[in-house]
């Protein structure tokens, strides 16, 4: 295994991802400890939160597709798209996802679904019009890489406690019941809410960072599967130009599924990169260029 062994590896990215995951894990352990101490008062409320989060997890993909007005298409309705995904799935050794098209002029694509088998890859009509076949293939491979990496599951699990913390903040009054009698036995309501707020704030940034790393990883996966990193880079340029040119009113409907897009719909310059779910396009293109260089060097780099 001389050739191909190192192609597509990125130790730096792995290190950053490990760091982020470690930070999140540490944060969550502390949070769980606090919750556990407060359990006596708020056990029931926490169980309700857990059920709500599970419900969200199982319905999120359908909600996302519905909010985008996406409809599933059969191979007869979109033969080229299906054929392209067929070949990519063969190449990446993946089960075939469902394919959906959203009637939207804004060029974009996203993947939803809890598992590889139940996932759906959705593209907008704007994307289909905008991109030539090779670039479309790159974008589809990026979305399939999200599916292969189980990013929806990973991000859901990673943001589980953050969502719990957010719920506790919003519904603080639930946790107040019966607090007076055993104040000595655990932290008070105020403490739990304060810790929740802190956990939410810190995890917000960590989760955003993790999301950006997953994007880089999916770009890399797409490059490995298609063998054409530059085609994806070209697609990113074309899509970001396309988004910049699209009128604003289209953007309002797209909030909920932002994290799973190929590019975020609001490409505002003013927003700090810390808040962003996606890395800046220039950085992604630079990363893809490095992969192209590895590839051209005979994959021995």
């Amino acid at each position: 295994m001389s050739r191909g062994a190192s192609f597509g590896r990125d130790p730096g990215l792995q290190t950053r991802m490990v760091g982020t995951l470690f930070g999140l894990g540490l944060l969550y352990v502390v949070f769980a400890a606090v919750l556990f101490a407060a359990m006596r008062n708020a056990g029931g409320a926490i169980v309700i939160c857990l059920v709500l989060l599970l419900f969200q997890f199982f319905t999120a993909d359908k909600l996302a597709l519905r909010s985008m007005h996406a409809h599933e298409v059969s191979p007869a309705q979109a033969p080229e798209l299906h054929a392209m995904i067929d070949r990519l799935c063969l190449q990446a050794d993946l089960p075939k996802p469902k394919v959906a098209i959203a009637d939207d002029r804004m060029p974009n694509a996203f993947a939803v679904g809890r598992s590889q088998k139940s996932s759906t890859v959705c593209v907008t009509t704007g994307l289909l019009e905008l991109l030539p076949p090779a670039e479309l293939e790159g974008v589809l491979a990026h979305e399939l890489a999200h599916v292969a990496h189980r990013d929806v599951l990973v991000m859901t699990v990673a943001s589980f406690f953050a969502s719990l913390a957010a719920m506790i903040m919003q519904n603080a009054f639930w946790f107040g019941g019966g607090n007076r009698d055993n104040r000595d036995n655990g932290p008070g309501l105020l403490a739990v809410v304060a810790v929740s707020a802190l956990v939410y704030a810190v995890s917000f940034f960590l989760l955003r960072a993790l999301s950006r790393y997953r994007e880089f990883a999916a770009d890399r996966g797409a490059a490995i599967v298609t063998g054409r990193p530059s085609a994806l880079a070209a697609a990113l340029v074309r899509i970001s130009d396309g988004i910049a040119r699209t009128p604003d009113q289209d953007l309002r409907e797209v909030g909920p599924v932002q994290a799973f897009y190929i590019l975020p719909p609001r490409a505002k310059k003013a927003v700090s990169s810390l808040f962003s779910t996606h890395p800046p396009t220039e950085k992604r293109i630079a990363a893809l260029q490095r992969i192209e260089a590895q590839l051209q060097a005979g994959r021995t780099v």
Binding site: G4, L90, K96, L295
Partner: protein, 197 residues
Amino acid sequence: MGFLDTLFGRTKTVKQVRPDKLFALTTAALDLETAQGIVTTGEAAIVFQPLATGDFTQIADDAEAVLRDTGTETGTTVERRDDEFGYRWMVLRDPDVDDQVVGVNAVMESLQFGGYADRVLCAVFALRQTQQGGRPLHLVYLAKRGTWYPFVPVPGAEKERDRERELQLRAVLDPLMPLEPEMDRWYPLWGAPLGGA
């Protein structure tokens, strides 16, 4: 993909093709011909995704040259065709299925040897069903999984496959060759640049 690959978002492609199960066709072809009247059209192809690198071009050209050299003995001719999806079909023409299999295997092995096994999509063998008015039938070999499946396009119809016939063939082929168990992966290959399609 393992747990850690998922956690770190690492994409792994299959680095090994499995030419071993390819040879199942040589024995199966005899049975197919005598019992089912299914014969080769004389064309088979190995389908791969060409990379735009000097290194890969060199390896692919070498594989083709080797094939041409051995072809002068066996009578196999080679032709290169690119499809609309950017995949390359190296089409081998030979009336003998055994020679086709040997040729396809040679290309797979040289791509594997060059470190590019992950670029191989599949191998396709074009056959004809003489009892059904010579309707086309493709046997597709998934090189990375080492499995086979039949693909029967309906002649004249735009992108329609004969599922019933495919399922019949599944029963016929099952004892002869390792079939792909997941029927989701029986991907159609429309517009295959092969004879009889």
